[in-house]
Each structure stands twice: as structure tokens, then as C-alpha cells.
Subunit: 305 residues, 2 copies
């Protein structure tokens, strides 16, 4: 089947504390959020690693959503764990603990059938692992990647090699400024583009997102939420929704499609942050997604004078 | 003549340092920026105070723009001075020195003819002075006000009295969170609205602006600039452009007009920050403004799926 996305990244058990409450060892991980989000738009092939302690119900959740998990390796040991907290303003995650566990020796092994995927999304993991995925896949139509401040700090060269080989880079606001070494987001977007990716999407949380294309620039607002309960996974959900929509459209990279992709990503992320873990996504319907897309249109529209 | 705006606020000599350079005792002040900006759209009556040392050329600049300055009192002593600096990220002004000078004893005296102005903009000054202006004017169609963190901190009660009596409140992002005591901007806007103003406009600098109306919500992006040389006056310019446009439209407060007003304010502010003081506004043309409005439309538009 065409339009399938291969998504490689982390599958985790997250312990998160926000001003509104906390959860212990809830389902998380960059590939988990991205896959679940993308699966609303297209067929998803998830590749990652879990430990023997990974709860069966989480597997069930992914399977029930139709996500292909033949590439989800079960390794000896414990599943990757992340613990973090958010202050009052919810803008930045503070990592309290990271237990790599099975991730320590993880080498992504792409199943033969998956190697021909037209769409490849490298969710946030070690850029060396992202490179090893790129070395295994065969002529994908479009490749996208996400990353985080940690890799920008400790593996900037490997990350630059990844970026050179992708069509889309997803990166958040602070990371874009950090990586491009400029306070100007507009400059940062252009600098990152000059390193390879045709398209750079800067995620700004409550301030929306910016799309830097080849001959286009698009600014989308965030969906206006009175309360954000837990921002964990918002960026992964955004990227999964964005790229899932692009895959659904057969990889069309016209301005019209890419702007819509930003808006779908925005809508998807707005649901994720309403509850912990994937709780809100679990009950989400396409009708609810479309409704938020309509609201985003309404709140950003103006008639030219 | 109808559609005239009365603008009361500060007229200052600013010394500003940014990562890109510095100026000494350049023309500034909330009423100055707001008046100059509004004057692109409608006729402006400026009320403020200057000292005997105020450079004649600045008077000439305002007069040449057609701004009515009969209400600009000349008091014994020196003109109000502000000195500030901006760090690398340009998001927040650090006040280095404030010399009130003639402002110390300033009592706004609204000329008889101005008291019947249909549109009144209380630019950022002491809320007690803003109240005294409101006590002098006669049945304006629309009143707007701006403020700053200082007054929120030291005169919250007086400021709340002002807000209760205005139709539009302009406030920046950090101030909105501070005043409404919430990290959520969406909540902050609604809380501020509940204190009186039918419309609240939250200015977010490089992230654009949010308009909270009675039955509407509008999110506008900022104009994408690679370099911001000096953010001083951007908020005043925004408010002046916004309210000047509303006045030009005869005080129409339809959704269509208010959204356009946000976009005109956005465009105006984007010019102010390109140079120090009013340097960029001095050479600005209506055609250049319209061009940026068109670009703002283009970069925020998407076709609904």
C-alpha cells in the first residue's frame, strides 16, 4: 500500500509532573506520539524498542489504532523511562531523570518490507540512530526529522548530517535559536534551511508554528486553549499530524498542502496537551480534528482592506 | 472634523542601546509614537508635556505630519527622559534611568475643542493621569488605553478604574499574564475583558497579536523581520495604527474592521522597529504600509481542507 509512513523513534514510559497533576510511567515517547497522530491520516509502520516490562495494554492501544508494530523490537531489560516536570508557564520541560535501559544498545533494524516506505519520519532520537535508519531505507519520496536540545548540544555534527538528508526539519523555537545561533527566528529558519532541508517547521507552542518553504512562508496560530495540562508529546504529535497529512496527500508538497499540514499538526497537538499521555488522543475523532481546523481558519482569517 | 483622535501620553527624549547600536536623546514617548502612527489614518490631537529644552526640529516633525499640537504644553524645566537597553533577544526593555522632569507635575489639560473628540487614546502614562483625562472628555464614541508593567505593579487599583471605562485595552504579553495573574494568555485575555473593556488586544512582539472581542477571537502573526534594530515604541505604534484605523472607519467595531485594525497595527509596528526612534516612520508611505498588509494576508492564509 502506498502512502505508508515509517516512523522511528522512542517508545517510553513517562513520569510527568505539571502544575495540574502528575502521572507515573504513562505511555510516551517521540515515536509513540508521532505514530498515533499520523495514524489519523495514513498507515503507520512503527520502529522502536521496548523492554520486557512494557505493559501489554499499550501494545493493544497501538494495534487497535491500526499501527503496524512488527518493527517494535522487544529487548531484554527495562523500557526507556523519562521523568520530567513543567513549571507554571509550561513552556519548558525540566528533565528530572532519564533511564535509557533498552535504548542503550538499541540499533534500529528496519524490516525488509518497511525499507521501501515512501515516507520516513525520524522522530526525536540520537542523530546517529537517525543516520542508520537513513542508510537502511531505499529511495523514500520524502524524509522528515525532529530533534531536541540535547542532540544540538552534544551531537551537533551528526545532527547536521541528518538534516542535510531530510526534506522536512521540525524543531522548536528555543532549539532553532540555539542551533542556528541567532535570536531572530526568521533568520534561524533561513539558516537551518541552508543546511539542507527544503522545508523547516519551527514549533512555537502557544504561539503557533512557522513554515519556511522554498518560496513560501506561513505563520499559523496555536489553537487557543485556556488550560494546557501537559505539553509532553505536543511537538511529536504536531510532526506526526503534519507528515501524516502530507503522506495522505501522496507526498504533495504544494504550498496549499503544506499550509494545511501545519494546521492539522496544530490541531492534533492541541488535543494532546489537554490530558496526560495519549489519553485525549485515544478518544479523538476525525470530526473533532476537522472542527478545530475550521476554528483555526476562522481565528486567523481577515479580509484584506 | 469627525474621526479625530485625542491622544494623551508621554513625549520623551530616549537614550536606547540595543545589540545593533545606540542613540542618545532621540525623540520618543508613548504619545509620540502613537500619534505619528495614527496620523497615517486619521487626524490626531496630541496632548502631553515637554520642557524648554525640547528640540524645535521634533515639533516640526509632528507639525509636518499634520498632528495638532495645541495641547502639547511647554513647562519650565527639562523634558521627560528615558534610558533603556535591550539584550540580545530584544524581548524586554531594561530601564536604565527615568528622569520625570516636567512630567513630575504634569496635569493633562484638554483644550476645550478637544474635549468633544469622538476617539480618545490614553497612551501609556500614570493611570491617575489617564483617569483625569477621562473626567475631562465629553462622551467619546470610543476610548482606548495602553499601560506598562510599572503601573500594574505600583498602581493596580487606579489602572483597574481606567480599564473599567475603556472600550479597548492594549497590553503586552508579559503584562497581561502579570495583571491577570495567570500563565495562560487565553485566560488572561478573558479575565481582563471581565474587568470592563469590550476588547482586549494582547501584543506579543515577534509572535504577533491576539484580539479578544465580544464574540470573536483573532490571532495575527507578526511581520517576519530578519532584524529588529530597536523595539522601543513598537507597542505604542501598534496601538496608534490600530486605533487610528478604527477612527478612520468612523468607529466601526465590526469583526472585519477590528481584524484589519490589528493587521494595520502590526504593519505599523514592523516599520518602527527597523530603525531607532521615529526614523523609519518619517519616510514611510501608505503604499509601503499596504504592501506589508498584503504580505501579512499572504503569510497567514490557508485554504480550508
Amino acid at each position: 500500500m502506498a502512502n505508508e509512513i515509517l516512523i522511528v523513534g522512542s517508545v517510553a514510559l513517562d513520569s510527568v509532573k505539571t502544575p495540574f497533576g502528575e502521572v507515573k510511567e504513562a505511555l510516551g515517547g517521540s515515536a509513540t506520539y508521532a505514530s498515533y497522530s499520523a495514524s489519523f491520516f495514513t498507515s503507520v509502520r512503527l520502529v522502536g524498542v521496548i523492554g520486557e516490562d512494557f505493559p501489554k495494554e499499550h501494545i493493544g492501544l497501538l494495534k487497535d489504532k491500526g499501527i503496524h508494530i512488527e518493527g517494535l523490537q522487544v529487548a531484554k531489560g527495562k523500557t526507556f523511562r523519562w521523568a520530567g516536570s513543567y513549571e507554571y508557564d509550561l513552556n519548558e520541560a525540566h528533565t528530572l531523570a532519564t533511564e535509557l535501559n533498552v535504548f542503550e544498545t538499541f540499533k534500529p533494524k528496519i524490516p525488509a518490507e518497511y525499507k521501501k516506505s515512501d515516507f520516513v519520519f525520524l522522530a526525536n532520537i540520537d542523530p546517529d540512530l537517525q543516520l542508520s535508519v537513513l542508510d537502511q531505507v531505499e529511495k523514500p519520496k520524502l524524509v522528515a526529522c525532529d530533534t531536541m536540545n540535547l542532540w544540538i548540544r552534544i551531537k551537533p555534527d551528526a545532527l547536521k548530517k541528518v538534516i542535510k538528508r531530510v526534506d522536512f526539519l521540525f524543531i522548536n523555537e528555543g532549539e532553532a535559536r540555539q542551533f542556528a545561533n541567532t535570536s531572530s527566528l526568521v533568520k534561524a529558519g533561513r539558516i537551518l534551511q541552508s543546511w539542507g532541508p527544503k522545508h523547516v517547521v519551527i514549533k512555537k507552542g502557544e504561539h503557533g508554528a512557522l513554515l519556511f518553504g522554498q518560496n513560501t512562508f506561513f505563520a499559523a496560530p496555536a489553537f487557543p486553549l485556556e488550560d494546557v495540562y501537559d505539553p509532553t508529546g505536543a511537538g511529536d504529535t504536531f510532526a506526526g499530524g503534519f507528515f501524516g497529512y502530507v503522506a495522505q496527500q501522496g507526498g504533495d508538497i504544494s504550498d496549499v498542502t503544506l499550509r494545511r499540514a501545519v494546521v492539522f499538526g496544530t490541531a492534533m497537538a492541541s488535543f494532546t496537551v489537554e490530558k496526560f499521555s495519549l489519553e485525549r488522543l485515544k478518544t479523538l475523532t476525525m470530526e473533532q480534528i476537522s472542527s478545530r481546523v475550521r476554528i483555526l481558519k476562522e481565528l486567523s482569517h481577515f479580509d484584506q482592506p
